[in-house]
């Protein structure tokens, strides 16, 4: 009796199914990894922006003998305009009228010609590619970097038991703060941090406006507690960005937030850029933001 062998040219069903399953698993593993690689690249771009801003701050200090002023009250310019000449945006900064002025001397940040020449444009150096771009009012743009206002709120006073420990940036634009005032050490003090751009009419990240040009560390990194803005009209609490109206116990303050998984990029006063994780102890985060409180920061806790 002759045994007829089946032709062995093709694949069996089982072989095909197994191969398909393995490919499925590999694709499933690979695709999210590709997206993560993209995010890693965006984060790198974002930290590069912080580095450039840090260098610009240092060059500004070399020229002027002080850090740039944070803002001139609400409406007459913020630090973004002051450091523009140091990030090769000098042509734009010369078009900005009335920095440090009043209503009697010229336009505000949101009025023509400032709105068309300066504040209505988007600047890649001030934008984190991981975040969604937004223009909350007309063409006026939100951006992603704010300066360190210390460990309490915009009023830079003691708050609910937290003692204000000094900051490299202050509210009064005539007060000259420089490296000599960073007593805790430039490598232990934050300079610039990330904030997220408020969406729709939300004014978080509206850094042309005095209030939103700074952040503080009373709230933790990417805090589940709300940022405080003076009116709910400018508060749009999307996911990861809770906000509420300012009160006496919680005055206007903005936490450092980002779209990067797990934390925020931060520029320090020495020009270095570090990534801090969401799980960083709030007390250490606050200690990092103070410029003259004398805390000892254990680097193993970072």
């Amino acid at each position: 009796m002759t045994k007829r062998q089946l032709p062995r040219g093709g694949f069996t069903l089982v072989e095909l199914l197994v191969v398909i399953a393995i490919i499925g698993v590999m694709v499933g593993l690979l695709l999210p990894a590709v997206q993560a690689a993209r995010e890693a690249a965006r984060r790198m771009q974002c930290s590069n922006n912080l580095k450039q801003i840090g260098l610009a701050m240092h060059n500004y200090h070399d020229s002027m003998g002080r850090f740039p002023a944070t803002y001139a009250s609400c409406c007459w310019g913020t630090w973004n305009v002051l450091i523009m000449p140091y990030i090769e945006q000098g042509n734009v900064s010369t078009l900005y009228l009335n920095w440090g002025g009043t209503d009697a001397t010229g336009p505000r940040y949101g009025a023509a010609p400032n709105s068309t020449n300066v504040t209505g444009r988007r600047y890649a150096s001030f934008s984190c590619p991981s975040d969604q771009e937004n223009a909350p009012i007309g063409t006026l743009t939100n951006h992603n970097y704010a300066v360190n206002f210390g460990n309490t709120s915009i009023s830079q006073a003691n708050l609910n038991g937290v003692v204000f420990g000094g900051a490299p940036f202050v509210g009064n634009h005539l007060r000259k703060i420089g490296f000599r005032d960073v007593i805790d050490g430039t490598s232990n003090t934050l300079m610039v941090g990330e904030v997220r751009q408020g969406q729709r009419s939300d004014l978080r990240g509206f850094t042309w406006w005095g209030d939103a040009s700074q952040f503080s560390t009373y709230l933790a990194i990417n805090s589940p507690l709300p940022d405080r803005i003076y009116t709910l009209a400018y508060c749009n609490p999307v996911r990861g960005m809770p906000c509420d109206a300012s009160t006496a116990a919680n005055p206007t303050m903005f936490a450092s937030r980002s779209q990067h998984p797990g934390g925020v990029n931060t520029g320090l006063c020495d020009g270095s850029v570090r990534f801090y994780s969401n799980s960083l102890d709030l007390n250490i985060w606050r200690a990092l933001s103070t410029s003259a409180a004398g805390e000892v920061i254990d680097s193993s806790a970072l």
């Binding site: 393995i22 009012i137 507690l225 003076y230 009116t231 400018y234 809770p242 109206a245 300012s246 969401n278």
Partner: protein, 166 residues
């Protein structure tokens, strides 16, 4: 299993050892796949690695669910971390990644009152940095809080805090 019966039906006279090896091969592959999938779907090292636990519950203001506010937990024992979250329609839910470490906490509840009118189509003007809304909750529940709670080792889900106005 279907696949296997089909396959054995397809081969009218399977050699016993051949079938045995293909079964065994399939079994091995499936086991490997299962290991892969289990590894991929394990939550892994995120979240509770630092000993944080979830905290959730309700807040009532004068007997009614608090429509909008925030709740903070401040540690009363060393080693704790400040945490908190938004209160929406009376409920708060803080996931483990942002949760509290087990221990005793002081609880602070805040809720802003009437908001300041503003036109969202115009850029804000002066005095916005000092403008504040009224606080709807008495100081003994927030800045001078007498509220305390204990967070258990696996977190708390049904906390209830009753607060009143000033």
């Amino acid at each position: 299993m279907n696949v296997l019966t089909e396959r054995s039906a397809f081969r009218a006279t399977p050699v016993a050892s051949q079938l045995y090896w293909s079964y065994r091969w399939l079994g091995k592959t499936l086991a490997l796949l299962a290991i892969f999938l289990a590894t991929a779907s394990t939550p892994g090292c995120s979240g509770t690695a630092d000993g944080r636990v979830p905290v959730a519950g309700e807040v009532k203001l004068d007997g009614q669910l608090l429509d909008r506010g925030s709740i903070e937990f401040h540690p009363l024992e060393p080693g704790g971390m400040i945490t908190g979250g938004m209160v929406t329609q009376g409920k708060f839910d803080i996931p483990a990644e942002q949760g509290a470490k087990p221990g005793k906490y002081q609880v602070r509840v805040f809720a802003s009152g009437e908001t300041i009118a503003a036109d969202p189509n115009l850029p804000p003007g002066p005095q916005t940095d000092t403008a504040v809304s009224a606080e709807r909750i008495a100081a003994k529940f927030n800045v001078n809080s007498e509220l305390e709670t204990e967070i258990g080792p696996t977190g708390n889900q049904g906390l209830l805090f009753e607060v009143s106005g000033p």
